[in-house]
């Protein structure tokens, strides 16, 4: 049942080019524009190339992007079309429905890495140790889980037509402010003050650390921040879900 539901969720997302093409291709487009030009330059005082550093950035960006968008948009859409009402009347346990969405999002996120990693290897001449590639992959997939909560919360709090706009308004500025596109040092002073408190910044640090780039905080602290954000996002999502339940199904 879970397998079939997951497959259906995956097909549903895959067939929306606005989602599948942008989440698979946008990271490598960004990588091509920003990363390749100076890919072989070493970061100041290290042996790590900018190409590797920016691979860390884009891995984090693309994976969190999938989580936030796939959840936000599919949940908001289904609420808009009242699919949730029909699903409630079927014997499908809600937990299976939810798990299928999670597995689909993680599978899709893994797929973006399958596109991004070879691109960085070839076009950005990024050479990492085998265990570094592996660490980067598992860290970004694991670290993306809090963003499922964020996507879910947005999906339940915004309407079907506004979900995309709301997510773009939250996600894109946050990605910039977290230094995923340009190093934090180039950002305005005030933004630099804020960025350490952003979930994507903490997530980004895990990615940069995985490719060997220097980071300001240690790995454990970053994980703890992400766990904290995860708890907060899922709490908001659960609250929004209950609120809707109370309205629609009582």
């Amino acid at each position: 049942m879970l397998l079939r539901q997951t497959w259906a969720e995956f097909v549903k997302l895959w067939r929306v080019p606005a989602f599948s093409a942008t989440s698979l291709l946008l990271p490598i487009v960004f990588y091509a524009f920003i990363g390749i030009g100076q890919a072989s330059q070493k970061l100041q005082g290290t042996n790590v190339t900018f190409g590797a550093y920016f691979l860390g950035s884009m891995a984090v960006y693309s994976v969190a992007n999938v989580m936030v968008f796939s959840f936000g948009i599919s949940v908001a859409n289904e609420r808009g079309m009242k699919t949730d009402l029909l699903m409630r009347a079927t014997p499908l346990p809600p937990i299976v429905y939810l798990l299928a969405k999670c597995i689909t999002a993680i599978a899709f996120a893994a797929l973006t890495l399958v596109v991004l990693f070879p691109f960085a290897y070839i076009a950005g001449a990024v050479r990492l140790e085998a265990d570094q590639w592996f660490t980067l992959a598992y860290r970004v997939l694991l670290g993306s889980i809090p963003f499922i909560g964020l996507g879910f919360a947005v999906g339940y709090l915004s309407g079907p037509n506004s979900a995309v706009a709301v997510i773009n308004l939250i996600y894109l500025p946050m990605a910039f402010a977290s230094g995923l596109f340009f190093p934090k040092q180039l950002l305005p002073e005030i933004v630099q003050q804020i960025s350490p408190y952003l979930p994507l910044y903490r997530f980004g640090q895990l990615g940069w650390d995985a490719v060997g780039a220097p980071t300001s905080e240690n790995v454990t602290t970053n994980w703890l921040y992400l766990v904290g954000y995860g708890v907060a996002f899922f709490a908001i999502a659960a609250w929004a879900y209950r609120r809707e339940e109370g309205r629609k199904f009582s």
Binding site: R4, Q5, K12, V16, M81, T83, A89, T90, F249
Partner: protein
């Protein structure tokens, strides 16, 4: 044995609106029942309570003697709801296959698609279906689990006459398997064609529960209007009319036998002008039913 579906003294309040005011009804396995009533009468609310989509404010709702939210109860029920969409980016055959998987002993996929008359559209994406085809897809999804009870909330809404007729045949075909069907409708003739029992709901209460023939005999089929300044109520004594309104010499009658009413009026020497005879709509039918 527990009834297929049951409401006991169920009330439902949405804020200040009392949508159901103490409805009791019991639907046995194998029955084909139509719930008839105008918009806002409480039909959809009744179905929502039976399906566990809403909780009664007071009273009780059950399916097969179980809580309607029990997964065992739900796996014996198929549902077609008003305006509840399905994912656009799946193909008809994919989504039927998916829904089949939710039920313990579903019918073969192609049979469900054939029952809904969607064979030619089996490979089409849901988003490319027309309104009527979408409605048939919802029917396929409702029957694919091989349910003991089928709930259809206004299944023919928005269909043209031809579409409605063929759709009713499909529902009949399913009912002939010996299954229970509960549908809501605006149309008395639809209830008449399908159901052996009609439950009439108006303003949150059941006002009639009888075979369609009985309901029909109570409900006026025609509306007769004319102008007759000299007419008195007593001129109508003994005529087969179900409701009368007279205002400023304008007369409106509801009757099943307009010809004999008019003949008697002429025989009684009533002067009539601006005569108009038309089919009574549901509003008129309710006036007739509630005035009894």
């Amino acid at each position: 044995m527990a009834p297929a579906a049951e409401l006991v003294e169920a009330t439902k309040r949405y804020g200040a609106v009392e949508a159901l005011k103490g409805v009791s009804l019991r639907i046995e396995l194998g029955e084909v029942v139509a719930m008839l009533g105008p918009n806002g009468a409480g039909k959809t609310t009744s179905i929502s309570l039976l399906l566990g989509l809403r909780k009664p404010t007071s009273g009780k709702a059950s399916l097969f003697g179980l809580d309607p939210n029990d997964l065992d109860a739900r796996s014996r029920v198929g549902v077609m709801l008003q305006e509840s969409g399905v994912p656009n980016m799946l193909k008809v055959r994919e989504i039927v296959e998916l829904f089949r998987g939710y039920y313990p002993s579903p019918m073969p996929r192609d049979r469900a698609i054939a029952m809904a008359g969607l064979e030619e559209k089996a490979g089409a994406l849901v988003k490319d279906l027309s309104g009527g085809q979408r409605q048939r897809l919802y029917f396929a999804l409702a029957v694919c689990g091989n349910p003991d009870v089928l709930f259809l909330d206004e299944p023919t809404v928005g269909m043209d006459v031809e579409g409605r007729r063929s759709f009713i045949d499909r529902i009949k075909e399913f009912a002939q398997l010996g299954r229970t069907v509960v549908l809501t409708t605006h149309y008395l003739e639809e209830a008449d064609q399908l159901a052996k029992r009609v439950i009439v709901i108006d303003r949150g209460v059941v006002i009639a529960d009888a075979p369609p023939a009985v309901i029909k005999s109570k409900v006026a089929g025609k509306r007769v209007r004319f102008v007759a300044p000299d007419l008195h109520e007593k001129n109508l004594d003994g005529l087969p009319v179900t409701a009368v309104t007279i205002k400023d010499g304008r007369v409106q009658l509801l009757t099943n036998e307009p010809e004999s009413v008019l003949r008697d009026l002429f025989l009684r020497g009533v002067e009539i002008s601006d005569l108009e005879v038309s089919g009574a709509d549901l509003e008129d039918a309710f006036i007739a039913l509630t005035s009894h």
